[in-house]
Subunit: 325 residues, 2 copies
């Protein structure tokens, strides 16, 4: 007797993860490979997806996989690009998969990785930042995620940019750089010594940053979190401002009286970072009757979403067995 | 008997202006041409400089010009680039000039275009924004001017970007767009009608902006000032926030008890714009004992700066005769 299996694929910028599950919530295989988002990394990234899929399918008959969900940032672009779509379909067929698959937003998958409730709110912060209202396991309304130039407030990019702006403000105001500013100078210029003409140091800082893509500023986010851990007032203030911005984005998609689950996802919120702690504190004040959950394994959540239309048992119980709630 | 003449050159992004004066403050010639900054427009822009110089020298013997000052944004880059510098020197010689010239910051020239006092403060807002403390007719300390990615707060770029962010916030918060947001949508998308899926309109707005250089956002500044004129609360708030940012930049370079002149310059502050008015109001509160002057003709101010080491009479009187104070 053949199994009824579903597959979840989480295609991210830095890793691609695949998980195969059965209707009872057991895992039958998993695979991990490098970043595989073809809309940002080009069709060659599909090799990573193929590796993750092949590993996840190693112990099962691919024809037992009856449904699949693919979570990916910019999934709409994959749909809109026939060439990219057929390259993806070729990868799909090459690993022996014949079932239909559904493309989903990574934001929806992050929500499902934190709760099995059909209605709720998700806020994601990594390099960028976005929040969404979910209704019936579908994205209903989305806020921010507008990119570094116009939005992504409270994101890793935003934390990095503001950390540099704090260093520039210290130089402009002829103050000795504070610990966070000094750490920024050391990281970007190799020294926190200030030139005799302070303006030369400011110029050097601006030039180093302008020589790289703006999004590179997100690499300074861990530095901010580290300085927060050292009780540096500038870093604490910055992380609290980021949390307030993220809570404001949440408020764009969530009624004040809402009591549904709140899920926090993305590299800066899934684990117990300083930003996650500050955000949970702010959300707890604005929505005291709600619980904040951390998003878990996105590939397993995608597999669970693929299973959802087919599951006879309690989907919440399968969600728990998968370790997602 | 030959005259003692000096020449002032104001090399901007959109125009190049030259003025020839004598020690008594009389104008002996002037010339205007297109944008001629070789550090941003390339060496070909020097043709514009040559045109402005030729016209300014039409009625004088170029050998009577004994000193010159060139005001230009990024003048340090001209100094640092031997190829560009010799291209400039060739232009200089080709129009018959043999005197030495001094390269000066456009910010210092803007200051001199508003006052003859040796010590004071200047704040400039156009596409970008910068403030400086002046001591003895030299830049002593500069704040902001860090470019659109990291600074230029309160500038034309900043006004434009914030206007778009107001439109995105209305879309995110599922509010009808306010008059400023609607004007932004009409300007950038050709219509202020919102798509059935509001997110589609937000996406379209972000895509239109991402398809152009970020600095292009400065083109929306006149729209903000126009909406301010129509008493649109969002535009009034935005212009007031810009003025507060500029005053904050001024505070980086000016002591609270200082009573020296304050000069406002740049496309958004020289004329009596809404931003100039709001800024003067804020500066008047922070430095009640100081007078705020609008910068006048930058080329004449550059010629006056070139004359300064050579003038026996009262330099303030020459400054007045030139119409700069």
């Amino acid at each position: 007797m053949s199994d009824f299996l579903t597959l979840g694929l989480d295609i991210g910028g830095t890793s691609s993860r695949a998980v195969v599950i059965s209707a009872d919530g057991r895992r039958h295989g998993s695979g991990v490979a490098g970043g595989g988002n073809p809309t940002t990394h080009g069709p060659a990234a599909l090799k990573q997806v193929a590796t993750a899929l092949t590993d996840a399918l190693a112990a099962v008959d691919p024809s037992d996989v009856r449904a699949a969900t693919l979570g990916m940032a910019g999934y709409a672009r994959l749909n809109a690009d026939p060439q990219l779509r057929s390259a993806f379909d070729a990868t799909w067929a090459a690993v022996g998969l014949a079932c239909p698959y559904r493309l989903a937003s990574d934001v929806l998958v992050a929500y499902a990785a934190g709760t099995s409730a059909p209605d709720g709110t998700v806020v994601v912060a990594g390099t960028g930042a976005i929040a969404a209202r979910v209704r019936g396991h579908e994205l209903d309304h989305v806020a921010d995620g507008h990119g570094w130039l116009l939005g992504d407030v409270g994101s890793g990019y935003w934390l990095g940019r503001e950390a540099v702006r704090i260093a520039l403000a210290d130089l402009d105001r002829e103050r000795p750089p504070g610990p966070l500013a000094a750490a920024v100078l050391r990281t970007l210029l190799g020294t926190d010594a200030i030139a005799t003409r302070r303006r030369d140091t400011a110029h050097a800082l601006v030039q180093v940053i302008n020589a790289q893509p703006p999004i590179t500023l997100a690499r300074l986010a861990p530095l901010v979190l580290q300085r927060y851990g050292a009780d540096d007032p500038a870093a604490v203030d910055l992380v609290q401002r980021a949390a307030a911005h993220l809570a404001d984005t949440v408020a764009s998609v969530r009624r004040p009286d809402e009591t549904t689950p709140l899920v926090r996802g993305g590299g800066l919120l899934t684990s117990d970072t300083a930003l996650a702690g500050e955000l949970s504190a702010v959300l707890g004040v604005s929505w005291p009757a709600s619980t904040v959950y951390a998003a878990g394994d996105a590939a397993a959540a995608a597999a669970w979403l693929a299973l959802l239309p087919h599951v006879d048992d309690d989907p919440a119980s399968v969600h728990r067995i998968l370790g997602l709630s």
